[in-house]
Symmetry: C2
Subunit: 129 residues, 2 copies
């Protein structure tokens, strides 16, 4: 009954989550170094963001050591699922199929990937028959 629902991460927060998902639990210093590789960002900026994420419940942290270790609270897949859901609603009026069509049309996928998708479709159709 007292479940706090975790809010959707913002764009800047998502960038941090990607680092945590890819490298596992990490201190602020490491995350900031990763981000700095791609763009200009101050250390305290990253720190503040991660503290806010902790407040929101997007990450957990271990404060035993002096430099705290942060970890994503939700898995990548779980987060992607949630974000995808609201994205489909907002942009594609709830039609997942038309999103898929657009996605396949826009970007090139490898033959392997396409075959994988085809297989998935057949598996889904198979269940319904």
């Amino acid at each position: 009954m007292s479940e706090k629902s975790i809010p959707k991460p913002t764009d800047a927060e998502l960038e941090i989550l990607q680092v945590l998902w890819e490298h596992g639990p990490s201190p602020v210093r490491f995350v900031n170094d990763e981000l700095s590789g791609r763009r200009e960002v101050g250390y305290t900026t990253t720190l503040k963001l991660m503290q806010i994420m902790h407040d929101k419940g997007l990450v957990t942290r271990n404060t035993d050591a002096r430099s705290h270790i942060y970890e994503a609270a939700l898995s990548r897949e779980e987060t992607q699922r949630t974000l995808l859901d609201t994205f489909v609603d907002n942009v594609f009026s709830g039609s997942a199929a038309s999103l898929v069509m657009q996605a396949l049309g826009n970007r090139k996928a490898s033959k392997d990937e396409l075959d994988q998708i085809k297989a998935l479709i057949e598996r889904i159709e198979g269940k319904k028959d």
Copy 2:
């Protein structure tokens, strides 16, 4: 050389665009009535939003009559493509295929839709062979 690139619409702006795409060029009054059907929203709020969208270039407008007629500047498909692109980058690290897998897994699509998608995949694969 002096092309102003049109910015990404925000969520509230997207709601308005959906109305314009669905019903064609419309005055503020009509758009606001549509939105009001779903949720509470003041007339001047919608007006202001549409004025801002006009400043940004997201919509064009005809001011001949007293009540201005607004029209989406970009097609639904064009806008969806742009938003999808940055969404794939931000949330799925650029992998359209994994987005498609998630989308198909999450939401139920009709057999017709699935067949359409399968056909599209085969068309894409065909081109490459």
